[in-house]
Amino acid sequence: MKPRHKRLAIAGGVLASVAVIAALVFNAFQSNMVFFFSPSQVAAKEAPLSRTFRLGGLVEEGSVKRDGVTVTFVVTDKVKAIPVTFKGILPDLFKEGKGVVAQGRLEGDVFVAREVLAKHDENYMPPEAAEALKNAQKVNERTARSIVQSSAETAPGARP
């Protein structure tokens, strides 16, 4: 084999394997991306039904109920509220009235969380939760009346 051919072969081999790997990586990336939705978006049916996503907001005061290992609570952005169930141990800093992010799927109207995140600082608000509240507030200001009405109809737990 001539040196030129050899170098071509090496470069070609490297390029081909990198291409294959890149395809694999992007495919894995596509199928494992987890999107974030706020309670308002979930209530508006924007969230996917058969895919894992993240739900963020505040844990509604007085909504946490424990039954053995299963916990149920309500995540709200102060406009809409979504009931969540979770099996297992909540993080140390999970508290009513504080920010939370849950990852899981929608099953019917209930969000079944496989993971609940609350970060390690008392005053810390997960950015996702903070954003959900902010967005909800904006929407709230713009179309206050209609949202109050619809939330009163569909989600009795939500407060405008």
Binding site: M1, P3, K6, A9, I10, V14, S17, V18, I21, A22, L24, V25, A28, F29, S31, N32, M33, V34, F35, F36, R54, R66, G68, V69, K87, G88, I89, L90, D92, L93, Q103, K119, H120, D121, E122, Y124, P126, P127, E128, E131
Partner: protein, 667 residues
């Protein structure tokens, strides 16, 4: 007074660093010996001034000087002494000071152990490190002064984050930083060589031990972090693909590639441009890691600061470093040349494969870490990429790498023969297949992926054994013992490190396949059984620690009626920050860990308890320790230790024709 002294010392250090960045470099350009000889004294001065600053801050912590804002925010008079010292790097400002201090430690070491290098080379290297120091000192002084006073001084401090009050946390950051910052040495060597235009195998020989040293520290740092997460975060995981972990893992991957490509450059003079590029990459990733962790773009235990100026500063610094070094590279690399030729099948090609896989793996981690941040910054919404992505990507990437790991060390440099390789490795392969099937069968309920994992681990072991036997089998009248004694440490180090990878893969495979995690509600006297271990809940009592209150559970573990252990997991509330903290109880064994932690109390005095069975989990860290030991062996190989000028001088003189009149031995 002490904080002002420290603050003043930092400004003095900045002046020293600026001088160090300019004068010796200019000297090397203009051939002025007197300017170049200033490199070492200036580096020493920089070390001393930064040292004074660091000691001042430590003294403020030890003396509980809460008039210093940083001390007041990260310490408390009830905090035990060792954690008051660890508090120095418990927050943003102090950890930056630690960064600079580590840089000075490396700089001092380079100045001290580079007596056999030509003066212009030393001058350039120390100058480049001086510029790095300028960047970080400016960062500290402008945006994050640790000596800022607080008036009026509070009576007591806000205490150290309870998560950091742990022996592992005392040493994890310094080790990790030693690793991060250590790549600045390889970076400085690379940039100095680009400026000087003398990039050859001699250069690779100088760079290798430094790179290995940085790699060892980074390995220790990451291992400690993983171990700490396992036993303090209370959920029994050892790696979460958290962006902060990724930030330390990316330089590690690039550094591992660099260690391997340096071997080719040293032995064969090939891969020169690529090696330089990797050195730049490894350090840039260290800076990127610092940026990600310190800028507040990530939210995690590690993110202290949310001051946007800080993030902007590091980002600008990163852009300057990467931009200028890549420009220099584009300008000078054509002069460096590609180096020696090699055949299609040779150890060079196999190591090239290793490098490609490692860099691609690094890029995959980079994508998963940065893409969500980028989308968010551009306002395209929030996404997250979790462990499933990294797991899916990593296994297929590591499999060919591990295969190459078995073949590479047995292949000849320059030109290897396929039949010979196949002949030498066919038994290794057969043994690996049999061993994987047998160990899989012994472990029971094993999956296909797990069998592949076991095969990978056994393949490394079997090919290592083949290689070792080839190196020590009796030949020319020399016995096994005699030949083993002659094994160079570098070869031994490589084998130990590769064995570490095998042990690591073994541990990961088994723990992922066989672990049992159970959350149960337990009242006094309740039991739960996992893998033959009976866990009995004996109740919870209250307890007072030095700066916390704890609920302490008692769980008795028996196996076949015989007592195995009493385990005491705790739930702590720290008095000052009022944060709850979970302290898991772990019973460690060679083949399994038992892991118990308290969740929350429920009605009737019962608790939700986490009971985990983790087979072979300690092998994960054991493998990392082996990798680190292997690095240590390789870094202390004889050919790096020979500092006698008599042996070092002649090859230097002939290897550096480009320097011409500037050739000098250090005094």
């Amino acid at each position: 007074m002490i904080p002002e002294l420290g603050h003043f010392a930092l400004w003095l250090a900045l002046a020293m660093a600026l001088l160090l960045g300019v004068v010796p470099l200019a000297g090397a350009l203009r051939g002025r010996d007197d300017w170049m000889t200033l490199a070492r004294p200036l580096a020493a001065g920089l070390c001393i001034t930064v040292g004074i600053a660091f000691i001042s801050l430590t003294a403020s912590f030890v003396r509980n000087d809460f008039s210093v804002l940083y001390v007041a925010s990260n310490s408390n008079s009830a905090l035990p002494l060792q954690y008051r010292i660890a508090g120095v790097w418990g927050g943003h400002e102090g950890s930056l000071l630690l960064w600079v201090t580590m840089l000075c430690v490396w700089m001092g070491a380079v100045a001290r152990f580079s007596r056999h290098l030509p003066l212009p080379v030393v001058a350039r290297i120390l100058s480049v490190m001086g510029w790095v120091a300028v960047g970080f000192l400016l960062f500290t002084l402008i945006t994050s002064n640790p000596f800022e006073r607080l008036f009026p001084a509070p009576a007591d401090g806000r205490d150290l984050n309870p998560l950091l009050q742990d022996p592992g946390m005392v040493i994890h950051p310094p080790m990790l930083y030693m690793g991060y910052v250590g790549f600045s040495v390889a970076f400085a060597f690379a940039v100095a060589a680009l400026i000087g235009g003398n990039l050859d195998s001699q250069w690779a020989r100088w760079t290798r031990p430094w790179t290995l040293a940085a790699w060892i520290f980074l390995t220790i740092g990451i291992t400690l972090g993983s171990w700490w997460a396992y036993y303090t975060l209370g959920w029994g995981g050892w790696w979460f693909w958290d962006p902060v972990e990724n930030a330390s893992f990316m330089p590690w991957l690039a550094g591992t590639a660099l260690v391997h490509s340096l071997a080719v450059t040293e032995k064969r003079g090939a891969f020169k441009s690529w090696t330089v590029l990797l050195a730049i990459l490894a350090f840039s990733l260290s800076l990127l890691g610092t940026f990600l962790v310190r800028s507040g773009v990530l939210s995690s235990v590690h993110a202290f600061a949310t001051d946007p100026r800080r993030g902007l500063f590091i980002l600008a610094f990163l852009v300057i470093v990467v931009g200028s070094s890549l420009t220099l590279y584009a300008w000078r690399a054509p002069r460096v040349g590609l180096g020696a030729r090699f055949a299609l099948l040779s150890r060079e090609t196999l190591l090239l494969g290793n490098n490609v896989m490692l860099v691609v793996a690094m890029a995959a981690v980079l994508l998963g870490t940065l893409y969500p941040l980028l989308l968010d910054a551009l306002g395209f919404g929030k996404i997250s990429v979790g462990p499933p992505y990294f797991d899916t990507v990593f296994v297929p990437l590591m499999a060919p790498l591990v295969f190459l790991m078995g073949v590479g060390p047995l292949a000849r440099w320059k030109q290897a023969e396929l039949p010979e390789l196949a002949l030498r490795l066919r038994w290794a392969f057969a043994v690996a297949v049999v061993a994987a099937l047998a160990s899989g069968w012994l472990a029971g309920r094993i999956t296909l992926v797990a069998t592949v994992g076991l095969l990978m681990a056994w393949w490394i072991v079997a090919s290592l054994a083949t290689e070792l036997w080839g190196r020590i089998k009796p030949r020319d009248g020399a016995s096994v013992g005699a030949r083993a004694a002659l094994l160079p440490r570098a070869a031994l180090g490589m084998m130990v490190a590769h064995l570490g990878v095998a042990v690591f893969i073994f541990g990961v495979t088994l723990v992922k396949t066989l672990e049992v995690e159970r959350d149960v509600k337990m009242g006094t006297g309740d039991t739960t059984t996992i893998e033959g271990y009976v866990f009995t809940f004996r109740g919870v009592r209250e307890l007072d620690g030095p700066n916390y209150r704890a609920a302490r559970g008692w769980i008795e573990v028996t196996q076949g009626g015989r007592k195995v252990a009493d385990m005491f997991p705790e739930k702590r509330i720290y008095r000052v920050q009022r944060n709850p903290m979970t302290n898991a109880a772990i019973q460690t064994g060679l083949t399994r860990d038992l892991y118990v932690s308290l969740g929350e109390s429920v009605e009737g005095g019962a608790w939700i308890v986490r009971v985990y069975y983790k087979p072979f989990i300690d092998w994960i860290w054991g493998g990392c320790v082996l990798m680190m030991l292997g690095g240590l062996l390789a870094a202390t190989d004889r050919r790096y230790r020979s500092r006698a000028p008599a042996t070092a001088a002649p090859p230097l003189a002939t290897a550096m024709p480009g320097i011409g009149t500037l050739e000098h031995e250090a005094p």
